[in-house]
Amino acid sequence: MDNEQKVKQFHEAIAKIKNELKKDVVGQQEVIDNVLIAIIAGGNVLLEGVPGVGKTRLVRSLGKTLNLPFSRIQFTPDLMPSDVTGADVIEKTDDGKMKTEFRKGPIFANLVLADEINRATPKTQSSMLEVMQEHKVTVGKNTYALAEPFFVLATENPIEQDGTYPLPEAQMDRFMFKLHMTFPTPEEIANIVLMTQITLDETANAVIDGETILAMRELAKTVPIIDDVLNYAVSLVSLTHPEIPNTSDTAKKYIKYGASPRACQALVTASKVRALMNGCYNVSFEDIDALAPAVLRHRIKINYNAINDKLDVDDVIEKLKQENKKSFSNKKK
């Protein structure tokens, strides 16, 4: 297959997925695009939204569309890590001997929906760390590789905070994007109601497979990024750190701690996919800017000054973007 065909297939696959998802999910186009970007880039996504906006439905529909083994883990306070990863169990063999055998948990799937992930205890949440970063599960002395492609799509409810455990920063960092699912417009709600009158099940069909996703990922990795754009991304992430000398005023004033280098990796990788998805064969400043909120909003912690000034994390990121543009254009001059 020559390269042009690969690119063509890439765009066709994206179009197909989007078409299928439209059958089950009304609106949320930006979220859908970003989820696809994350999946192709090999990142995990944290979906945040009020109940009923279609978080779970989106993930389920996506699982169907991608034709990937899908599992759903409902995170609850009593959920144990072994409930996620699986555990060694003692079994009696046919010959009557006892042996330990690893029973795979629901994490052993290509697409895992970690529903209401913030309701599990930190102990259980932390069981996701290795899985999400290394796509491996270690139980006892044994390490089990997960099948590729592997994605975790987690959801969390921002308003029901009672009995929840905020995700630790280390785990947050494992998510490539944190996406807000906004409340649908009246027209969208009407469409949702009409759609669910027929059936509550997802109707999306499988249009691609895991192999295709892996091929798309490899293709996206080859998208060139010039030094200026790379430096722009690095600069933006650096500006989130209040402790760095000559950092942004915004960071000094509003940020408690900034994003990790993993954010920069995620930003560049995701930007490549975004560029390719949009028919561009190189990463642009626009790609970086567009993905910055999704990449950074869960990686930086705003302080009380921001709250006092009635700024949320997205407002702070917007300020950082403006400062980054200004300082970067000054540097170029």
Binding site: N3, V7, V223, P224, Y281, V283
Partner: protein, 520 residues
């Protein structure tokens, strides 16, 4: 290396644009700088050589033009950034440039995609706004230059005519100062009376001190000279009318008075050429010291001719004396009026003429000694000679020297200060002897009797001159009444019992008058 042809062409265009822009802005800055320099120099009235304007212009051209060219010089990356920015190409061209050596699949696709877009924008890759700022700046600078030049030229033109004359500082050099002091000394050494001498020298000293006092413009000096000369003229003109000369001469020889005054006037006019005090003195000495001889000769010629004729001098002797006398008079006139009067030959010629005349006179004197019965005639001749000499010498001494000195001062000042004759007040001509006398007298006949003996009947005028006729109570031409007077004389001679000798003398006298009149 894979580089788009479109990109290369766009780059060439931008190179041309850079050259044009830098040249335009450099030129504009140069012209603007020169314009500002013009304004500053003109309005500030600084003395600035035009070559400095040129240096400023060229300096600014390079100082501004070169950095702009360097800044605008289109490197691949600069052109790429510009194109990405101007056409919202999302860093496609920059990627193209940065990955031009990459042969990866995606780079190839990226190149193709970018090339396609570059081809689409190639024609409009140079936008008018790229050159707009340069054009605006150029127009502004050009306006400044034009304004500066216009102001400079206008003010220069306004100031040109008077300034070179008015503003020029007069150089009162040491040589000029010495010449001025020498002139003052000449005045002090002159033969003027002490009071006049002090006044004239004082005026000149005052002027000298004024010029020395501080920096003076040429115009100021000219005005000061004019004032000084006006004062000097006032001091001297009161004694330069020759009226006294005329009066004195006319007292003993009315026919000769006009001739002498005319000669002196002519001399005065020509003496304008003299600027050497020694020469002036020499001429004056000649006139004054030898005037005894001159006047005696002329007196003899004019007055004694009648007497000689009466006593029967031989015609040959008479004619010889007459010729010598005429030669002398001609030489004297020539000497006095010649512009080459400094020629050393002239005084000798005058002297030789004089010697010839005196020799003849001596010879004649010997002859008249034989006429012992005519002692009265001899006494008459002697008396006339003495009276004329004394009166003429006195008059000429009083009048001609101030006139000469006045003219000398004019000449010297003109020479020292490099003036034109029109820069100094004109020496007022004596109304009595000037050419417009007739007009003046015609306009004011009541005053005519006081002028130069006009209308007294004592003066012999040229035939076209006017004379007051008491019978007609108006001024008439002398030539018109001469025949009438002669007719009356003939009538009186016919009807009277006068001795024959006296009748002859009267006839001879009228004959002489007629001859003189014809000569004039």
């Amino acid at each position: 290396m894979f580089m788009s042809e479109s990109f290369k062409r766009i780059k060439r265009k931008r190179l041309l644009l850079g050259v044009l822009k830098s040249f335009l802005l450099g030129l504009a800055s140069g012209l603007g700088g020169v314009g500002i320099a013009f304004l500053v120099v003109t309005l500030g009235k600084f003395d600035f050589l035009w070559v400095f304007h040129l240096i400023i212009g060229l300096g600014l051209f390079f100082v501004v033009g070169v950095p702009i060219f360097i800044k605008e010089f289109p490197t691949d990356l600069k052109v790429a950034k510009k194109l990405d920015q101007d056409f919202s190409l999302k860093e496609r061209v920059q990627t193209l440039v940065e990955y031009q050596n990459s042969d990866s699949v995606m780079s190839k696709l990226q190149r193709e995609d970018t090339n396609e877009r570059l081809r689409a924008i190639e024609k409009k890759s140079i936008k008018f706004k790229d050159i707009l700022s340069a054009l605006v700046v150029s127009i502004i600078c050009l306006s400044i230059f034009a304004s500066g030049l216009a102001v400079s030229l206008t003010m220069k033109a306004d100031a040109q005519t008077p300034s070179q004359y008015v503003e020029e500082i007069f150089d009162y050099s040491q040589n000029r100062q010495n010449a001025m002091l020498e002139l003052i000394k000449n005045v002090r050494d002159s033969k003027l009376d002490e009071e006049t001498k002090e006044n004239v020298a004082g005026r000149l000293e005052e002027f000298h001190a004024y010029v020395l006092e501080g920096e003076r413009t040429v115009l100021e000096v000219k005005i000061a000279i004019g004032i000084a000369v006006a004062y000097v003229d006032m001091e001297l003109e009161g004694v330069t009318s020759y009226r006294e000369v005329h009066k004195e001469v006319a007292r003993v020889n009315s026919g000769l008075a006009d001739g002498i005054v005319a000669t002196l006037t002519t001399y005065k006019q020509y003496s304008f050429q003299f600027s050497n005090f020694a020469s002036l003195t020499s001429i004056y000495e000649t006139i004054v010291s030898e005037n005894e001889l001159l006047t005696s000769a002329e007196k003899y010629f004019s007055k004694t001719e009648f007497t000689l004729a009466q006593i029967g001098v031989e015609d040959a002797t008479h004619e010889q004396i007459k010729r010598n006398l005429e030669t002398f008079c001609r030489e004297a006139n020539l000497y006095l009026t010649s512009t080459e009067s400094e020629n050393p030959e002239k005084p000798h010629a005058l002297k030789d003429s004089f010697i010839a005349l005196t020799r003849d006179l001596d010879a004649y004197k010997d002859k008249i000694d034989e006429f012992t019965d005519l002692v009265g005639v001899r006494a008459e001749i002697h008396e006339i000679f003495t009276a004329f000499h004394q009166s003429f010498s006195l008059a000429i001494d009083e009048e001609i020297y101030p006139s000469m000195l006045q003219q000398f001062i004019h000449n010297k000042l003109t020479e020292i200060f490099k003036l034109q004759s029109i820069d100094l007040p004109k020496i007022t001509p004596d109304p009595v002897w000037s050419n417009d006398r007739e007009q003046q007298e015609g306009e004011n006949p009541e005053n005519g009797g006081s002028g130069g003996g006009g209308g007294t009947g004592e003066t012999l005028f040229p035939s076209d001159d006017v004379i007051y006729d008491p019978d007609q109570a108006k001024y008439v031409k002398y030539g018109e009444i001469l025949a009438e007077h002669e007719a009356k004389m003939q009538e009186m001679l016919m009807s009277s019992d006068l001795p024959e000798e006296l009748k002859k003398a009267i006839l001879a006298y009228f004959q002489f008058i007629g001859t003189y009149n014809q000569k004039e």
